[in-house]
Amino acid sequence: MIVIVDYGMGNLRSIENKLHRLGAKSTISSDPKAVEGAEKLILPGVGSFDAGMRNLEVRGLLPALQQRAVVDGIPLLGICLGMHLMTHKSEEGNAKGLGWIAGETRRFDFSGQPKKLRVPHVGWNTLTRRGESLLLQGIPQDASFYFVHSYFVGRVDEADVVATTHYGVDFVSAIQHGNLYGSQFHPEKSHEGGFQLLKNFVESA
């Protein structure tokens, strides 16, 4: 059973819908017990870092997530804010992140640059692959994905970087640290490339 963690942030239905199409058994839940019983986890999310951490804490999800993701090492995919929460902290707020991967979440800042790009980064963009990962298997090199974010993950361990994307700066768009996966873009809203990524995650060992 894949548990899509409901901590009050994000469009969970779309993810569940795509998993359903892949024939995967999944459920949306905010119950720590469901997390404890999960075979795989998806941590989605849109919104603010502090609200995300607070919502996880208030629902008593932190211990269960820590146990399954870090101690037991089951596969977990963090999407957008979900990926940000896996880092140590964010410029956006004061909360401590989950700290599962080396990294900090920072805001796009083009104020010093001649070409002032708009924030948030909204739209379709491509990936430059850095490391091997099952996440991107079977996805064409020029596939594009849907991004919508004002913050990105930086200071990541090179070994964890699966792909970067360019928007004024090169930022990390996909990561893997052992059993922990992250995508800055929204695979559930990225046509075939995104669907294949979800398929890869569902079918992973």
Partner: protein
Amino acid sequence: MFRPRVIPALLLSGRGLVKTVTFDHPRYVGDPINAARIFNSKGADELLLLDIRATLEQRGPPVGLIRQISDETFMPLAVGGGIRSVDDVRALLNAGAEKVVINTRAIENPGLIRDVADQFGSQSVIGSIDARRGRDGGYRVFTHHGSRRRKEDPVEVAGELEAMGVGEIMITSIDRDGTMEGFDLRLVRSVADAVSVPVIASGGAGSLDDLRKAIQEANASAVAAGSLFVYHGARRAVLISYPSRTEIESLLGEA
């Protein structure tokens, strides 16, 4: 490579899709779910669904329909029409929409934008502004689907919406709507140059080159088009089309 978005704009009236001209003369063009499926199969970047009767009928957009469309599509949905409250927004986001589009209520009460942005994040809300050009060449904002004139001009309103935390702004020329005579580039540019958030140009797209002009000459970050993707030929036969990714990339290049 980042590419600017090309967004089909679908107008809902009752259970059907319609096309208008200068926000008037709605003409039935088909079934929304079917149209959404076709745009999805053509790889559309995003879909904009606006219920044009909602505000006048004092209700929000049809949540059930949004859910059906969201279940069948693999790209983001932006939904608007008659949104009055944070609860209306929650219902739509839970049904599968990525973003909501708020026009009349946001202009009458900009605090609504701030509340939505605080609850769901800026990326969840597009502030939509409709404008007509006056005889003096200046622009005035209209709400209630073009029926009520405001004192403000679009640039003022855009600034307010940005200050309240919108993720994006959509600027629509009522005069150009459905005419396929091209975007009002002066209008688009005045708004795009006044804010730092992405601006979506809307109203008047008649050719792929019009899309290019809005991006490259008027500083829009994305373009919305209705007639261009729903009509074909001089007699405006209903036929759904959407440019290929290659066409879009060679047309719009890198932002």
